[in-house]
Symmetry: C2
Subunit: 417 residues, 2 copies
């Protein structure tokens, strides 16, 4: 079963907003066994909407449209849908009632343009939108389903979850879809591909393998579609286990979670605690960790020591060390990590100090040079990295490298226990 998503509205085409709706819709559709063939963003233009709809009907069985349902002149979706399906208009009682209630709630006078929001093409089924004034419209034609939803994310999400997805599941006989993701670090995409070449070549046609690289990590994703969910799951799992066995030392986790979440899970399972001491990453590692609910059982906190004075006062780095070796050095980053373990009373600490750039580099310590240390109660390991001359990239790469170092050391320590 194939679907196509069409988003209507200038704000995406001028780059004012990122289209997060489509990714969300695509994810939900995949979970119920509907594959998304294409996502198309177009402007509020009648001709363009008409041709996009006709093209989508050639490719897909289900077409989900968002946007262009507001009360203002630039929103032409409804009028265009009536034209496309050759329908007249009627006022929908349920939709009108909802508009009335919303205006009453916010104590605003009901204008003609708002009453017109309840006008719909007369051959569609109206699905009442409980969170907004634009009704959702369900059309059927030539065994295809076309649904028009508002573009406001929380209105669309509610309609999808409560109405559209259940109706699609009832209406079509959908295949089972299974995805399995394996997160790897310390190995490049092409090396990974070479390592698992034989397994990849042996995959049956209904199971696909994708490589998703990102800043020193590569995600491997197996996707299978078929009739029998339980069988499919077992089959995918078997191939996943073959891959994991082949590249075991690079595998972080066989779930679709970020690196820092995988680390949090390992540390939580082993009742270990963590703190951070960040200079050039400026709180980014702390931010990555604290995005995750429940992180407080592992992560106690940390310091962002941009100024040297704070490296001394919060972390206990020695003035002499800073004077002799400078802030970006093995000695300083080691004392930062050890200071964090000692002062913040955690089992492990991450410390980072480097030249993020774009300025501030010297011949000896160029932009992109970053020292990272991981300290535990037993030992401290420091490593130097040389990244690029791009500040944001250096911050992100340093964070990923620090987390990868921590993961490697954690695994080693846990294996040695």
């Amino acid at each position: 079963m194939l679907a196509e998503i069409i988003t209507i509205g200038d704000e995406i085409l001028i780059g004012q907003i990122v289209d997060t709706n489509s990714a969300w819709i695509a994810k939900q559709l995949n979970l119920i066994g509907v594959s998304v063939k294409q996502i198309t963003s177009i402007s509020d233009d009648e001709q363009h909407i008409l041709s996009a709809l006709a093209d989508a009907e050639k490719r897909a069985d289900i077409i989900l449209i968002t946007g262009g349902l507001g009360p203002t002149k630039d929103d032409v979706t409804k009028k265009t849908l009536a034209k496309y399906f050759n329908m007249g208009f009627r006022s929908d009682a349920g939709a009108l009632e909802m508009v009335r209630q919303i205006f009453e709630k916010y104590k605003r006078p009901l204008l003609d343009v708002n009453i017109q929001q309840a006008d719909v093409p007369d051959g569609c089924e109206v699905i009442v939108n409980k969170n907004g004034t634009a009704p959702c419209m369900w059309f059927e034609q030539n065994d295809k389903i076309i649904v028009s939803m508002p573009g406001v994310p929380h209105e669309m999400m509610y309609l999808m979850d409560d109405e559209i997805l259940p109706r699609i599941k009832l209406r079509f006989k959908l295949p089972a879809i299974i995805h399995k993701t394996i997160l790897t670090v310390n190995i490049g995409e092409s090396f990974l591909a070479k390592e698992i070449e034989e397994i990849e070549n042996s995959l049956p046609g209904h199971i696909k393998l994708a490589y998703l690289p990102k800043l020193g990590q590569v995600r491997l994703r197996l996707s299978a579609s078929g009739k029998e969910e339980t069988l499919l799951k077992a089959e995918v799992e078997a191939y996943a286990q073959q891959i994991i066995a082949k590249v075991k030392k690079f595998v972080v986790v066989d779930e679709d979670i970020p690196l820092e979440k995988a680390i949090l899970n390992i540390m939580e399972d082993n009742q270990l605690t963590l703190s951070t001491a960040e200079s050039c990453t400026g709180g980014y590692i702390a931010h990555l960790i604290t995005q995750h609910p429940g992180c407080s059982s592992v992560y106690f906190g940390g310091a962002v020591t941009y100024a040297c004075e704070l490296k001394e006062s919060i972390l206990g780095v020695k003035k002499d060390t800073l004077a002799a070796f400078g802030a970006v050095s093995e000695q300083t980053v080691t004392e930062m990590a050890e200071g964090a373990v000692r002062h913040f009373k955690t089992d492990y600490a991450i410390a980072v100090s480097g030249v993020a750039g774009p300025d501030g580099g010297t011949e000896e310590k160029p932009v992109g040079m970053v020292w990272i240390a991981i300290s535990s109660k037993h030992k401290t390991i420091a490593k130097v990295f040389n990244f690029s001359n791009k500040r944001i990239q250096n911050i992100q790469r340093a964070a990923t490298s620090a987390l990868t170092m921590l993961l490697n050391i954690l695994k080693e320590d846990l294996d040695n226990e």
Copy 2:
């Protein structure tokens, strides 16, 4: 001049990643006077790529393609482009040299698949990708330009900034486009619209005003297109000054920079220094600030005090205060801010403590409740906010609110001097 963006790769269609590339590209194109007609996301499928290209050529003059250029089997863009343009392959010396250098830098052996990354359709112009192993390819056919770029955001961005945008500007006669952005805070979109209604109605047809709301901030963007850049600039500036005069007290800055950068500029100009003490925002404010080069002249650093113990040991919050009022309270956040000013020796400090969620709320202190304090040597001001039940959103909103509070207080203090 019309462009179309085609993103290739299953990861968008299964909803695994949000397509941020397209919004970024669309924004850059609009800035140089190229309108985006359509954004299309398709899978790594030869037939689909071929038909999407043919369709795009009917609609647009410039087609920018991202993705599908990796060394692995699932990446078919290059092969498909050769087929589309009816070209053979050649190995590009410049691209191969870049691949060699990258592998040398990371001390990895060069595999056949990597050498093949330098193979390109023989009629394209290669634009060397300095940040990755996949070359960028520029095709011209029937007066149309088709460019294929890697999908990795930072690789694509540098190629666009350094190569593609300058070449498009040279190749086409584009209109002069002037944008002027005014950042406002403390006022909602519709109230702002009402305040400047008369100015908006008086704008000539070639100058457009857009409202770009985001987390308590509204950016006003005047965009003008025409022939004479100097005249256009003066005209836009005159309207901008009218708007600024009308809503002066809400205006942060009349440049397109983020709120925290505007604050850094004000503080730098007045030789003021800043530190942070973050609990629920977990380093996000520090990260926002330290993204900006040169921030170290203002920002000394701060603490991420997730655990109560660290609120005491690093910031000097009293044990009694925490026991009596809890971590999320006016008293605690006040002591956090004052502790930061005192211990980190800065003129101002931001402190945040709240319930980010999704769990951990109580009746008295529900999820989304966040206390924020701003402290200087003279005074501390604390305020409570009630956001949503979404963790990431709460972190972002708390950060924006804290920065807005700091800005308001800074302005007041500087006005009173």
